[in-house]
């Protein structure tokens, strides 16, 4: 068949654009805390800390100054320590849940009592991402953290679980 190549190329361009279009329509970019529950089927959740889309961001950008104020009132580290466990967040490659310890209005510690990963690559990713996520949470004192690049799903799940724990304590 002559001009067979044209049919293939036309089909390819159409298929390419259609899928990208379909993808853009069905996927809603989420901010990290609201990326929430599923991790499955919600298509993309591009790494989005509140307000920032800088492609050059890499590791923990801790130096605040981006996005809204990590609010809380005049914090005091005094007061009884309270703990709450966050919901188990399933993120496709596994699931995790965090437990947060709070003193007054400050997060003092985050632990990950529940961590089940499906495969070794995810275990490797989790092993380097979780400590960084913890450090970032402590630094900004909320669940609105930057995701770790290369560990998007893990970060989303971590933040979502942390947020649900904070909600239980009626903290921001």
């Amino acid at each position: 068949m002559k001009r067979a190549a044209w049919y293939v190329v036309t089909g390819a361009v159409t298929g390419f654009l259609s899928l990208l279009g379909l993808h853009a329509v069905t996927a809603a970019p989420d901010a990290v805390p609201a990326a929430a529950g599923s991790g499955e089927g919600s298509g993309i959740s591009p790494v989005q800390p509140a307000g920032s889309t800088s492609p050059s961001e890499t590791e923990t950008a801790v130096s605040g100054g981006q996005g809204s104020s990590r609010g809380k009132g005049p914090g005091s580290a005094s007061g009884p320590a309270r703990q709450a466990a966050g919901a188990v967040e399933s993120y496709g490659y596994g699931e995790l849940a965090v437990t947060v310890t709070v003193k007054g209005a400050d997060i003092t510690s985050v632990a990950v009592p529940v961590l089940r990963v499906n495969d070794p690559p995810s275990a490797q990713i989790a092993s380097y991402a979780l400590p960084q996520l913890k450090a970032e949470v402590l630094a900004v004192n909320s669940a609105r953290i930057h995701a770790i690049s290369g560990a998007t799903y893990t970060s989303d799940a971590y933040a979502a679980s942390l947020q649900s724990a904070l909600d239980k304590l009626h903290l921001l």
């Binding site: 068949m1 049919y7 259609s18 070794p120 690049s149």
Partner: protein
């Protein structure tokens, strides 16, 4: 009883199943769909890819590894579909054309999948901050289904390797074929690791469903048309060798009888893959054209002894059972764009043209050119003259060694002045066919009016 392929005037021919019309739209739709799938799968690899992830350790390599995996696997499935002999597509594009595309496409999926293995291993190694060999070992021993996929990739490489001409020439056709068939195994082994590990699939149930459906559809088509239909046909028609007849030096006709041949939808010019159930021949299926339309209960194929298989056909014993795959080929009267035709036969290529000639209506006014080296190679001379005369056509016989009486532009247009308004059907050895095709093009015959079948392994 001898088969009498040439009918006398007034003879009532038993009614035959009319072969289905080729519909170019079906083939065009298939090409569009194949292209769309390729575009979509590349888009799939690029969507879901936040740019921040690329700058993570191993991010770029893993991204490319994913992209090459998707494209390579998709093309591998297209390769399978190309030789799955789907009737609606085969009728338009022809089995020989599809096999040509299959050969042309072959290096791509293999190269992409090798690249995928290397890129993904390196990318994971960087992310895990270990050496590549260490990471490869970890992947093979710990990651789900990766070992199976690695075996599959190895088989795929072996298949690719033995198809390189230099190596293939040293192998017997049976050995090469057995290795080649292992490609199905290679694909099956690789399926699981994609679903378990592919970032486009993990956490994306819809993508998994569509991907699995594509695999299932491919498997279904192969099982139905590549394997199932030929078995059903063979069982239905129960072909048996009746007679082997000498037609000329080194050329024999094999007459077969079968049941219900009036229901076999053959068009003149088509071929079957023949599997003769005799010692030494039963594991091979070779393509040979019919040299006459079926005359129930008889089928005739005519073969020149050029290789081991074709030479052994002369020694076939009557009563030998035959399994067939087909009919295949777009070398038929239904592919014509014009009414009138020019048939050019080189050597043994006359067999396909003989059955095509029989199938042509009188309005085709066929011009027939027979090009042979020696006069004794002019097989079916009388049959062809008779059939052409009934259709008010002309026959030109050109005899002589290859370098004399060359059929070039001037020679051909002298023989057939109205060449540009005819469909040209040319059949014979590869070099001959290529030369006539280019001569026809240079004389103004449009591409779609040139039909060729080259006899090659």
């Amino acid at each position: 009883m001898m088969a009498q392929p040439v009918s006398a005037p007034g003879t009532h021919l038993p009614a035959r199943a009319e072969p289905p019309r080729p519909r170019p739209a079906a083939a065009k739709a298939a090409l569009l769909l194949a292209g769309a799938g390729l575009g979509a799968i590349i888009a799939l690899g690029m969507a879901d890819q936040p740019f921040s992830q690329l700058s993570a350790p191993g991010g770029e390599l893993t991204f490319l590894g994913n992209l090459t995996a998707l494209a390579g696997t998709y093309l591998a499935l297209i390769m399978v579909l190309l030789i799955s002999r789907i009737p609606a597509v085969e009728r338009v594009l022809g089995q020989d054309g599809l096999v040509r595309w299959h050969k042309w496409l072959a290096p791509w999926p293999i190269s992409l999948l090798i690249a995928h293995a290397l890129l993904t291993t390196s990318g994971y190694a960087q992310a895990a901050r270990t050496g590549a060999w260490h990471e490869a070992w970890a992947m093979l021993t710990q990651f789900p289904d990766v070992l199976l996929a690695a075996v599959g990739l190895g088989v795929m490489c072996a298949v690719g390797l033995v198809s390189i001409r230099a190596i293939r020439q040293r192998l017997s056709r049976e050995t090469w074929w057995m290795i080649h068939l292992c490609m199905y195994l290679a694909l099956a082994l690789s399926f699981a690791h994609v679903i378990a590990l592919g970032p486009s699939f993990v956490g994306h149930p819809l993508t998994r469903v569509v991907w699995s459906a594509f695999w299932a559809a491919t498997a279904g088509l192969v099982l139905s048309y590549r394997f199932g239909l030929p078995v059903v046909r063979s069982l239905r028609h129960r072909l048996v060798v009746t007679e082997v007849r000498q037609e000329g030096p080194g050329v024999v006709s094999v007459i077969c009888t079968g049941r219900a041949l009036d229901a076999l939808p053959v068009a003149g010019g088509q071929f079957f893959c023949w599997r003769f159930l005799a010692r030494g021949l039963w594991w091979q299926a070779h393509p040979y054209s019919l040299s006459a339309l079926p005359r129930p209960p008889y089928l005739r194929l005519t073969v020149k002894a050029v290789g081991g298989h074709s030479a052994s056909l002369a020694r076939l014993r009557p009563g030998t059972k035959v399994l067939v795959e087909g009919p295949y080929g777009a070398f038929t009267r239904q592919s014509r764009h014009h009414q009138r035709v020019l048939l050019v036969a080189g050597g043994i290529g006359v067999t396909a043209l003989r059955s095509l000639l029989e199938d042509l209506p009188p309005s085709a006014r066929p011009a027939v050119v027979l090009r042979v080296s020696r006069p004794e190679d002019l097989i079916f001379r009388d049959e062809i003259r008779d059939l052409a005369a009934r259709r008010r056509g002309t026959v030109h016989e050109i005899t002589g060694p290859r370098d004399s009486a060359v059929l070039d532009g001037p020679a051909l247009s002298r023989l057939v002045p109205d060449l540009a308004s005819r469909d040209v059907f040319v059949c014979g050895p590869q070099g001959f066919v290529a030369s006539i095709v280019s001569v026809a093009k240079s004389l103004g015959v449009p591409d779609e009016a040139i039909h060729h079948e080259a006899f090659a392994l």
